[in-house]
C-alpha cells in the first residue's frame, strides 16, 4: 500500500476537520464557476444554434429593397459566382379576422416559389405542408401569428388589399429565421401577434394581388463565405443599374436628399440594402445574447471576489490557530517552502474542488439552459458542444483566485519564528485607546451588552470579514432586485407615465388626420389624438441615425414624454426631442443643431435644435409637434396613427366601428403589448430567481464561515465563560448580539455598495449603442432594500446556529484538556 506522506495526511485531516468551512468556500467558487461556464457556454451554444438555424434555412446575408425590378435582374445576380439570390414581393395588406369586432390585422405578405423552397431564406414547416403547386389560393402562416389565433392547416384566412377581399387556405404553419422574433420595423420592434402577422404566399398569387407581374420588390442575397463581399455588392449594383435602379444605398452609404430629388424628377428608381447584422430581429437577438454574455462575466466576478476574501480570512485563521504547529514543523526541520506549500494546499484543494465541480455542473446546466432558451424561441435546432476554452478558463480562474488569496496567509508562515511560535499567542485585546474609550462609554451597561460591543472592535479584521459577508449578500440581493426594480420602473414609466393611451390605431391613406374627430366622437372613446410618423435620417456632424420622427400634439394628454430622470418634457416648434439611447450614437448636446433628412419622399429636409433627450422603453423615435411634422411634409391633414383612450373597457361594437373606418389599418391594444412583453419576460424572471438563490447561498456561505471563524477562534474564551457559570442562552444571546452589531456594519456598507454595483451592472449591460430595448436606470426601491437587509440578517441568524450549538455542546473537560495540547 502506498504510504501517504504525513504532511499530506495532516492536510487531509485538517481539511476534513474544517470540511464545512472549506466546503462553504468551495461552494462559493463552485457557484461562481458554474454561472460563468453555464452562461458562457449557453451563450456560445445559442450562437451556434442560431447560426445552425440560419445555415439550415440559408438565411440571406443581404436584403435589397427596391421600388420594383424585373425578375430577370435576380436571374443575373444568380449568375455571379458564390451568390444565391431570391427575388420576392414583400407587401403589407389586411387580414380580416372576422369576429364581433371586425378586427383588422396587418399582414406582411412574403412570397415564396410555388413548387419548391427558395435557395435563400427558406422556411421550416412546423405543421402541414409546403404549397401544393396547384396554383390555388394557398398560404403558409408564420407560427407566432398562427399560435395567437390558433390557426391550423386547412383553415381559411381572408386577406384584404385595396378593399378587395380574398380567401386563402392555410397549407402549413412555418418558422422563418427572419422571424424568430416578430419585428415590424426598427421603430416598432415588438408588434403583438394580435395585430401583426407574417404570411407566405406563392409568387404568382402575390403578383396578381399587388399588380406586380414579372416584378419583385426585394432581393435576398446569400454570399458564399470565401467570396469578396464588396466586389459582389458592386456586381449587384451593376445589375440593378442595368435594370433601371440607378442607386443602391445602405445604412453606411446614404444618399443625400438633393440626389433623391433629382432621382424622382428624373424618374429614377432606387434600392436600399440591409446587411444581416443590421436587421432589427438580429439586433434584438444580439442584445439579448450580449446581456447573457455580460451576465457570464459580471456575476462570477462578484462570487470569486468574495471567495478570495473568504479564503484569505479562513487561511489566516488557520495559520493563526496553527502557529504552534508551524513552529513545531520549523523546529523539526520542515523547510519554509514545504510549510508554505502545505498551507497553500488548502487553497488549492478548495479551488480544485470548486472549479472542477463548477465546470462540470456548469457544462451540464449550460445544455439545459440552451435548450430552455431555444425552446422559448421555438428554434428547431439545438447545437451544444463542449467548449474547451470556456472550461479551461473556468478551471484556471477557479484555481488561481483562491491560490492568489491564499498566498498572503501562506507566505506569513515564513515570518513565524519557531521559538516565538512555541509560546501561546497573547489574546488580542484590540486598540488600547478604543478599548479605553469603550470602557468609559459602556460603564452603565451590563456585561452581556458590554462584551459583544467590545468583541466587535477587539478583532476588527475578523468583524470586517463577517461584515463583508453580510455586505456581499446584500449586494447580490440588491443587484438581482435592481433588475426587478428596473423592469418594474420601466413598465410603470412606459404604461403609467408615458403612454396614457389605451390603443394606437394605425392609419393608411391621405388626410387621415380627419379621422381623429370621427373617432373621438364615437361612443366608448374618451379621447383621441393624431400622430404622424415619418422615417427620417438624423445627422449631427459625421454621425447619423435612421429613425422616424413622430409628430404629436403639443401638451399631449396621450403621450407624456419624460427625460431619463423622469422629468416631464414637451415638444416645441423650435426643437426636436430624441430618445436617450441616441445620446451616445449621435453625441449631440442639448442646443446642438441637427440635420433632418426624410428617408422617403422629397420634402421635409430641415435643421432643428436638439431640445432634449426623452426616455423610451421599446424602440426609439424622435418627437416634434404634429403641426411641425405636417408642415415639413407639406400636408396639414397627414396622420399615420391615432392614439385613443377608451371610456372603460372597449366593447366589440366600439371596436367594430373603428375597424369599419376605411383608413384604419390596424389597432395596437396596449394591454396586449404589455401581456406579450410579460410573457417574454418569463426567462428573465427565472434568471433573477437563480441570481437571488445564488446570492443567498453566497451570503450564507460567507456568513457561516465568518461566524465559525469568529467563534472557533474563541473556543477557550467561551469555555471559560461557561465554566464560570454563564448560561447557554445568555451565551447565545451575546453571540447573536455581537453578530447583529457586525451585521449592522455589513448593512451600512452593503447598501451603498449594492446601489453602486447595480448601476455598474446596468451600465455594463446597456453599453451597446444598437440596443432596441432600454430600461429605466435602476433606482433601487425601498422594497428591495428591505428584502435585501431582511434576507441578510436572516441568513446571518440562521448561519450562526451551528457555531452556537458547537459552543454550547462542547465538553468543558475536553476543551480544558486541549489547552495543554
Amino acid at each position: 500500500m502506498v504510504k501517504v506522506p504525513r504532511i499530506i495526511l495532516k492536510s487531509l485531516r485538517d481539511l476534513w476537520k474544517g470540511k464545512i468551512q472549506y466546503g462553504a468556500v468551495s461552494l462559493i467558487i463552485f457557484i461562481g464557476i458554474l454561472i460563468f461556464v453555464c452562461c458562457y457556454e449557453a451563450y456560445l451554444n445559442l450562437n451556434m444554434s442560431y447560426n445552425a438555424f440560419y445555415d439550415r434555412l440559408n438565411m440571406a446575408d443581404y436584403w435589397v429593397s427596391v421600388d420594383g425590378v424585373s425578375r430577370n435582374a435576380v436571374k443575373d445576380m444568380n449568375e455571379i459566382a458564390g451568390v444565391d439570390a431570391y427575388g420576392r414581393i414583400v407587401e403589407d395588406l389586411f387580414i380580416d379576422m372576422g369576429g364581433e369586432s371586425g378586427e383588422k390585422v396587418v399582414g406582411r405578405v412574403i412570397t415564396l416559389p410555388e413548387n419548391e423552397m427558395p435557395g435563400v431564406n427558406r422556411v421550416e414547416i412546423e405543421v402541414g405542408n409546403y404549397f401544393s403547386g396547384s396554383s390555388g389560393r394557398e398560404i403558409l402562416v408564420e407560427r407566432h401569428f398562427a399560435t395567437y389565433y390558433n390557426l391550423k392547416p386547412g383553415d381559411w384566412l381572408t386577406l384584404e388589399y385595396e378593399q378587395v377581399k380574398m380567401r386563402f387556405r392555410i397549407r402549413g404553419i412555418v418558422m422563418s429565421p427572419e422571424h424568430i422574433w416578430i419585428v415590424k420595423s426598427a421603430q416598432e420592434p415588438m408588434p403583438t401577434p394580435r395585430t401583426f402577422g407574417v404570411i407566405f404566399m406563392p409568387l404568382k398569387n402575390a403578383e396578381k394581388i399587388f399588380n406586380m407581374e414579372g416584378m419583385i420588390n426585394e432581393v435576398t442575397i446569400s454570399v458564399a463565405p470565401d467570396k469578396d463581399r464588396d466586389r459582389i455588392l458592386d456586381q449587384v449594383k451593376t445589375i440593378l443599374e442595368r435594370n433601371y435602379i440607378k442607386r443602391m444605398t445602405s445604412k453606411d452609404d446614404p444618399v443625400v436628399l438633393q440626389n433623391r430629388r433629382i432621382d424622382i424628377v428624373q424618374g429614377i428608381r432606387t434600392a436600399y440594402m440591409t446587411a444581416r447584422k443590421d436587421l432589427p430581429v438580429v439586433q434584438l437577438l444580439r442584445q439579448d445574447m450580449e446581456s447573457f454574455a455580460m451576465l457570464a462575466f459580471l456575476f462570477p466576478m462578484l462570487f470569486l471576489a468574495m471567495a478570495s476574501l473568504t479564503i484569505y480570512v479562513l487561511l489566516n485563521r488557520l495559520v493563526e490557530s496553527q502557529r504552534i504547529q508551524i513552529g513545531l514543523m520549523r523546529a523539526m526541520g520542515y523547510g519554509q517552502n514545504v510549510i508554505m506549500l502545505h498551507y497553500l494546499g488548502f487553497a488549492i484543494v478548495v479551488g480544485v474542488v470548486g472549479s472542477i465541480t463548477g465546470v462540470i455542473a456548469g457544462h451540464l446546466l449550460a445544455n439545459g439552459l440552451t435548450e430552455m432558451y431555444v425552446q422559448q424561441l421555438n428554434i428547431p435546432i439545438i447545437e451544444t458542444e463542449v467548449h474547451w476554452g470556456t472550461i479551461l478558463a473556468g478551471i484556471i480562474t477557479g484555481l488561481s483566485i483562491p491560490l492568489i488569496a491564499g498566498l498572503v496567509p501562506a507566505w506569513s508562515t515564513i515570518r513565524i519564528q519557531p521559538a516565538e511560535a512555541m509560546r501561546p499567542a497573547t489574546p488580542g485585546g484590540g486598540n488600547r485607546f478604543v478599548m479605553k474609550v469603550l470602557t468609559y462609554m459602556l460603564r452603565p451597561f451590563p456585561y452581556y451588552i458590554k462584551m459583544p460591543i467590545r468583541n466587535v472592535l477587539r478583532n476588527f479584521r475578523r468583524s470586517l470579514f463577517m461584515a463583508s459577508g453580510i455586505a456581499s449578500a446584500i449586494i447580490m440581493v440588491l443587484v438581482a432586485m435592481s433588475f426587478v426594480d428596473a423592469v418594474d420602473e420601466s413598465f410603470a414609466r412606459q404604461w403609467d407615465t408615458v403612454q396614457k393611451y389605451d390603443a394606437l390605431i394605425h392609419l393608411q391613406g391621405e388626410s387621415a388626420a380627419s379621422n381623429v374627430s370621427l373617432i373621438s366622437h364615437l361612443e366608448g372613446i374618451a379621447g383621441a389624438e393624431a400622430v404622424l410618423d415619418i422615417p427620417y435620417r438624423i445627422r449631427f456632424k459625421d454621425k447619423k441615425i435612421d429613425t422616424s420622427i413622430e409628430g404629436i400634439q403639443e401638451n399631449s394628454s396621450m403621450l407624456n414624454l419624460i427625460t431619463q430622470d423622469g422629468t416631464k418634457i414637451d415638444v416645441s416648434a423650435e426643437s426636436i426631442l430624441l430618445p436617450y439611447s441616441y445620446k451616445d450614437k449621435l453625441g449631440a448636446q442639448i442646443g446642438d443643431i441637427l440635420r433632418l433628412e426624410p428617408l422617403t419622399g422629397t420634402v421635409g429636409e430641415t435643421d432643428k435644435r436638439l431640445g432634449g433627450y426623452v426616455w423610451s422603453y421599446v424602440g426609439g423615435r424622435a418627437y416634434m409637434p404634429l403641426r411641425e411634422v405636417q408642415k415639413l411634409q407639406r400636408d396639414f391633414g397627414a396622420a399615420t396613427g391615432i392614439m385613443v383612450r377608451f371610456d372603460g373597457q372597449p366593447d366589440s361594437y366600439t371596436l367594430k366601428r373603428i375597424y369599419n373606418i376605411p383608413q384604419v389599418a390596424s389597432m395596437e391594444i396596449v394591454t396586449d403589448t404589455r401581456k406579450m412583453i410579460d410573457e417574454q419576460m418569463g426567462f428573465f424572471w427565472v434568471m433573477i430567481g437563480i441570481m437571488l438563490l445564488m446570492g443567498t447561498a453566497l451570503g450564507a456561505a460567507i456568513i457561516f464561515n465568518g461566524v465559525m471563524v469568529n467563534i472557533t477562534q474563541r473556543t477557550r474564551e467561551m469555555a471559560v465563560m461557561r465554566a464560570v457559570g454563564l448560561g447557554d442562552r445568555m451565551l447565545a444571546f451575546m453571540i447573536s448580539l455581537e453578530n447583529i452589531l457586525i451585521a449592522a456594519i455589513g448593512v451600512a456598507a452593503g447598501i451603498p455598495l449594492g446601489k453602486y454595483i447595480s448601476r455598474m451592472f446596468f451600465e455594463a449591460m446597456s453599453t451597446s449603442a444598437e440596443d432596441v430595448i432600454s430600461m429605466a436606470p435602476p433606482e433601487v426601491s425601498m422594497r428591495s432594500y428591505i428584502i435585501a437587509c431582511t434576507a441578510a440578517v436572516l441568513i446571518m441568524l440562521i448561519s450562526q446556529i451551528p457555531a452556537i450549538l458547537q459552543i454550547v455542546n462542547q465538553n468543558l473537560a475536553t476543551v480544558t484538556k486541549e489547552w495543554s495540547e
Binding site: 504525513r6 504532511i7 504552534i324 504547529q325 523546529a331 523539526m332 526541520g333 484538556k817 486541549e818
Partner: protein
C-alpha cells in the same frame, strides 16, 4: 573529549519597540556527548532562550553557538532548518502534537524528514506505547502524549535532545516516569540531553546541573552519582 555543544560568550538581546531585554549575557558553556544536563532557574532567567539557541530556533545577538562542530550562530534560515532536521530533537512542555494525526503518524511526521529514520513503531514500543499507536492525542493522557513527543524527537535519530519543561504540565508520578525514560534513552543511546526546568529537585538526576539567573550561568554542579529518577521527590 570534544564537546558536543559549545557556547562562547553568547549574548541574546530582544528588542521590543523601544526597549531592549537582555535574555542572555556572555554565556559560555560546553556540553559533552552523552551528557545529561539540567538547566535550572526561575522564570525569565534565560534557560529557554539558551535552549532555543542551541536548537537553532533562534540566533544569538553575539557570540558563538557550536553543535557537533557546526557553527549555528552564523547559519542562514535554510541551513538552520537542515541543522534542526539532522542534529536536534525537541520535547516541549505542552507536547505540541498534531491533533489530527495519531500517535504513530505524529512520529512518522518527523521520521519522514530523516534519511535513516528510526522505525516509529519501535520507538513507540520503546516509550511504552505499543498498544496506543493508533490513538489520537485527544485520546491519550498527558504522560502518554509526552511519550509520543519523546518518540517523535527520537525519530530522526538526532545526537542532541532538547527538553523544555518536559514535565511542566504533568503530575508528579507521570513526570518521574518521563525523566526515567529520558535517562534510560540517554544511557542506552548515548544521546546528549539538555533539560530545562524550574523544578530544583530534578537537578539531582543530571550529570551536570547548570543554574541560571538574569541571563547568566551562576553555578555549574557536577553530580558524580546522579540520582535514579525513580527516587526523585518534589
Amino acid at each position: 573529549m570534544k564537546p558536543s555543544v559549545r557556547l562562547d560568550k553568547v549574548t541574546k538581546i530582544y528588542r521590543m519597540d523601544h526597549t531592549e531585554v537582555v535574555a542572555l549575557r556572555d554565556v559560555s558553556l560546553e556540553v559533552f556527548p552523552g551528557e545529561f544536563i539540567v538547566l535550572l532557574g526561575p522564570s525569565g532567567s534565560g534557560k529557554t532562550t539558551l535552549l532555543n539557541l542551541i536548537g537553532g530556533l533562534d540566533v544569538p545577538t553575539s557570540g558563538l553557538v557550536e553543535v557537533n562542530d557546526i557553527n549555528v550562530s552564523k547559519m542562514s534560515r535554510s541551513q538552520l532548518t537542515e541543522y534542526r532536521r539532522r542534529q536536534i530533537g525537541f520535547i516541549f512542555q505542552f507536547f505540541n502534537l498534531i491533533p489530527t494525526l495519531n500517535a504513530r503518524e505524529n512520529v512518522e511526521f518527523a521520521a519522514e524528514l530523516a534519511k535513516n529514520p528510526m522505525p516509529p513503531e519501535a520507538l513507540l514500543k520503546e516509550v511504552g506505547l505499543d498498544q496506543r499507536m493508533d490513538h489520537f492525542p485527544g485520546e491519550l493522557s498527558g504522560g502518554e502524549n509526552q511519550r509520543v513527543a519523546i518518540a517523535r524527537a527520537l525519530a530522526t535519530d538526532p545526537p542532541v535532545i532538547l527538553c523544555d519543561e518536559p514535565t511542566g504540565s504533568l503530575d508528579f508520578e507521570t513526570g518521574k516516569r518521563i525523566f526515567k525514560l529520558l535517562r534510560t534513552l540517554n544511557q542506552s543511546s548515548h544521546k546528549t540531553i539538555i533539560v530545562v526546568t524550574h523544578n530544583a529537585p530534578v537537578g539531582a538526576i543530571a550529570d551536570r546541573l547548570i543554574r541560571m539567573r538574569d541571563g547568566q550561568i551562576v553555578e555549574i554542579t557536577e553530580n558524580e552519582h546522579p540520582l535514579d529518577p525513580d527516587r526523585l521527590e518534589w
